[in-house]
């Protein structure tokens, strides 16, 4: 009997292991190969063209005739539009409607294909390598710069002039310029400024209750947290952990060029982008780390912060009163809405770092764009379709919101109201097709707009009005990849304890961190980075 029980136990154990871990291997293998895929892009190009499936029409050389000629639409063209995200349930239905109009207007159809969020980086580059797509979503975080450099997209300047001359005005020349790589334009950004500036979100109701200062500087944050601690000792204050440390808080202090910290502990101020200074080896850094140590000693966060994992939605669940890591207006609006529904007596506010430092800017125009793949057989038609999707009110509404009356309606205030969970707001995952002139605002959008207008005013006063100068920069760390790896390890081991204030002696720990950085070859990284950054600034004229 005993034996039977034991063997049953073992069998179940083995099975659980089998069922659980079966699928992993192929993915890991494939991941390795994905890295090579962009490099292999050039090689496979010829093969790809030989086996290209979509079109039968021969390729007219792009942009050789300068005069805006009438587009030849005698033959039907089927295009593939690749976007990052999940397909809406009613994709086919909406797509059919879109194609009806497109066929009539330019004798073309478009098939939206979706990456889903599983392994999207790999699939994204695979699509470009194997040439199965015509139009494709681009973003700086999907490595637009690198891909453009490697020749994955068609240059669009000539196409714009011949096919869609009006688009230049719609998008704006300065926005287009932000998307240039090596002087060439490879993507058409949407014309909608988006403020993704980071900041903090905090419990305003507690601040009012205990009459505390608005936590918009490190000093005020200290006073705010101390105040809550004194009045309500049981309230947990901050959810600090190994992944979301306190490093971001100093964005309230320095007018840096990015909200996420310049790599390698460099300091580049927004107003003087070509002056690359040092942060990790400066006295400021030592002072800041001492402040964090003080906060940790005051008990603002758990002693075991370093080994903690992030809590799920700590603010909404009352596990923290303030949240730092990666908060932008869009995210803040979500939390606010959640809190409003679940805790009507609470109040949550968002403060952008830039409101204190005066440096604020919308996301770089590269964030949401549409490119034409190098393997596209009909670039003219693709461009025309893109123009229509962006500018034709009827088509744009279909793509962005679905079928009116079935998926959405516009209420008396002109605000979007969803009617069906089969197609949401912007459900084709095409933020690159947002056109602010014909957009139907949603409630969330209006909430965000409150921030945006405020930020746009601050942003207009900066040196580069409403321009994200850092967002278009892509670092290539291959020349110093060894040092890069070593420095990353040093940061994990020596910087993180500093950032959560769990060291005993800050002076000694900082000194040790600096020594280790030197040993790891921080100088090589900094040199390489600086060189690329200055070259980038020169190219775009950021002085």
């Amino acid at each position: 009997m005993k034996k039977k029980l034991l063997s049953l136990l073992l069998a179940t154990a083995m099975l659980a292991a089998l069922a659980g871990c079966g699928g992993g291997k192929t993915a890991a293998d494939a991941m390795d190969e994905a890295g090579e895929s962009s490099a292999a892009a050039e090689q496979t190009k010829e093969e790809t063209e030989a086996v290209q499936e979509t079109q039968e029409e021969e390729e007219p050389a792009a942009g050789e005739n300068k005069e805006p000629a009438q587009l030849d639409t005698s033959e039907r063209v089927d295009l593939v539009f690749y976007t990052l995200g999940d397909a809406p349930a009613d994709k086919e239905k909406v797509q059919e409607k879109i194609n009806e109009i497109l066929l009539e207007k330019v004798n073309a159809t478009v098939d939206f294909q979706f990456s889903t969020w599983v392994d999207w980086q790999q699939k994204y580059s695979l699509q470009l390598t194997t040439g199965g797509v015509d139009l494709i979503y681009t973003a700086n975080w999907s490595e637009y710069g690198t891909l453009a450099n490697s020749g994955a997209f068609l240059p669009l300047d000539d196409l714009l002039d011949t096919v869609s001359p009006d688009m230049r005005e719609l998008i704006g020349e300065s926005a287009l310029n932000q998307c240039r790589v090596g002087g060439q334009l490879y993507t058409i950004p949407c014309n909608d400024l988006e403020f993704t500036c980071n900041g903090i979100i905090y419990r305003e109701d507690l601040r009012e209750k205990y009459d505390l200062p608005v936590p918009n500087t490190p000093e005020n944050i200290e006073a705010y947290l101390l105040g809550i601690k004194e009045n309500d000792p049981d309230q947990q204050l901050l959810d600090v952990n190994g992944q979301e440390t306190m490093g971001t808080v100093f964005n309230f202090k320095y007018p840096w060029v990015t909200f996420t910290g310049v790599p390698y502990g460099l300091a580049i101020n927004y107003d003087t982008p070509q002056e690359v200074n040092d942060y990790w080896f400066s006295d400021d850094f030592l002072e800041d780390m001492k402040l964090l140590k003080k906060w940790a000693d005051l008990g603002f966060w758990s002693r075991s912060a370093l080994s903690n994992t992030p809590q799920e939605a700590p603010l909404e669940n009352g596990l923290s009163v303030m949240y730092f890591a990666g908060f932008n207006p869009a995210k803040a609006t979500w939390v606010m809405k959640d809190v409003e529904e679940e805790h009507p007596d609470w109040k949550v506010e968002f403060i952008a770092f830039g409101e204190t430092t005066g440096v604020i800017f919308p996301a770089n125009m590269q964030t949401n764009g549409t490119a034409v793949s190098k393997d596209c057989k009909n670039p003219e038609r693709a461009m025309k379709v893109l123009e229509l999707l962006l500018t034709d009110k009827e088509l744009n509404d279909l793509v962005m919101y679905g079928i009116e009356g079935e998926h959405y309606e516009v209420d008396e205030n002109g605000i979007y109201q969803n009617l069906s969970d089969k197609y949401g707001y912007g459900s084709m995952s095409t933020p690159n097709l947002r056109n602010k002139d014909i957009m139907i605002p949603s409630e969330a959008r209006l909430r965000q707009d409150k921030f945006s207008t405020k930020f746009e005013e601050i942003g207009a006063k900066t040196k580069f009005p409403n321009t994200d100068i850092f967002g278009g920069f892509t670092e290539d760390n291959t020349p110093y990849s060894t040092e890069y790896g070593a420095v990353s390890n040093v940061c994990d081991q020596y910087l993180k304890p500093l950032l959560v204030g769990t060291v005993d002696d800050v002076d000694a720990a900082v000194a040790q961190f600096r020594d280790k950085l030197k040993e790891a070859g921080i100088d090589a990284c900094r040199e390489g980075y600086k060189e690329q950054w200055i070259a980038y600034c020169e190219e775009y004229g950021y002085k």
Binding site: A16, A30, S37, G85, E92, W141, T196, G424, S429
Partner: protein, 296 residues
């Protein structure tokens, strides 16, 4: 006569029992936590973390999953379809291939075997593989590239071949041949009937492979109708993580993000059938795999 168990033997057995039980518990525990987590109230998971026995017992997570069961049932249907088609076709092809390369009189035996083994060392890699199905065969979006690539694997062919040569001595097939049996008769009436454990092992490997696969859906599915169950699950979890991360950079259409207990409930829903299926094949499994492996 009963062999007297010596003290050292008793000591050895008790130590072995303790160690093995310990090992088994370590393997089972995570699954227990998944099960209990799926039955725990979501708010408690967030505040207090997971526990072995569910606190705040509730079926809420399962209710949410099956409120709109269409999607998950469709994924279930597809996975069962892929598993059934893949396993049956695969078993047939693997067994027949193994039979052929296990025959000594087959003239090109070495060459054919080499071709099969060679693929274990060198493969074309991801891009040619993808190109083949997507552009050459133009099968992207159909179910074909999802079940077809998993049909045969060199490992299973080797396993089966060894199994055949182990369990059927040459003399038997030779005498059958002398009696006038053709290859079909030999294969169908002499080899197949004794292959039970081998078929069960290879079949289980194939079935588990199909059941657990998500990657081919990820590559080749263009609509949710053809998704495998694991991919459906994986995508749901992944979307939550990606959106959380991506929201820092851009505002992206937010899908319904599953709660903690819902994720676990889905894991249970997906693993369930395999749990039920396994005990029936398990008794063949050990013998099948050892016969194939030791002398392979």
């Amino acid at each position: 006569m009963k062999i007297k168990t010596s003290k050292s033997m008793i000591a050895f057995q008790s130590i072995a029992c303790v160690l093995l039980t310990f090992g088994a518990v370590i393997c089972v525990l995570p699954f227990g936590i998944i099960l209990s987590g799926s039955l725990t109230d979501d708010a408690i998971i967030i505040k207090e973390g997971y526990s072995i026995l569910p606190k705040g017992f509730t079926f809420e997570a399962y209710k949410t999953i099956f409120k709109v069961p269409g999607e998950i049932l469709q994924a279930y249907k597809m996975t069962i379809f892929y598993t059934a088609v893949g396993t049956s076709l695969g078993l047939m092809m693997i067994t027949m291939t193994s039979y052929v390369i296990s025959r000594k009189e087959f003239k090109y035996r070495d060459q054919v075997s080499f071709l099969i083994y060679f693929t274990t060392l060198f493969g074309g890699g991801l891009i040619p593989w993808y190109l083949m199905y997507a552009n050459v065969l133009n099968m992207k979006g159909t179910t074909f590239p999802i079940w077809f690539p998993g049909l045969m694997s060199p490992f299973l062919i080797i396993l089966m071949r060894t199994f055949i040569s182990e369990s059927v001595p040459d003399a038997i097939t030779e005498s059958a041949k002398l009696d006038g049996a053709g290859h079909l008769t030999i294969f169908g009436r002499i080899i197949l009937p004794v292959l039970g454990p081998g078929l069960a092992t290879v079949g289980l490997f194939l079935a588990l492979g199909y059941w657990n696969d998500w990657y081919r859906s990820s590559m080749f599915s263009t609509s949710q109708e053809t998704w495998e169950l694991q991919f459906y699950l994986y995508n749901l979890l992944n979307a939550a993580a990606s959106i959380k991360q991506m929201a820092m950079n851009a505002d992206i259409a937010m899908a319904d993000i599953p709660t903690q207990s819902m994720k676990l409930a889905m894991a249970v829903v997906v693993t369930g059938p395999v749990l039920l299926f396994y005990p029936f094949v398990q008794r063949y499994f050990v013998s099948g795999i050892t016969v194939g492996a030791v002398k392979g």
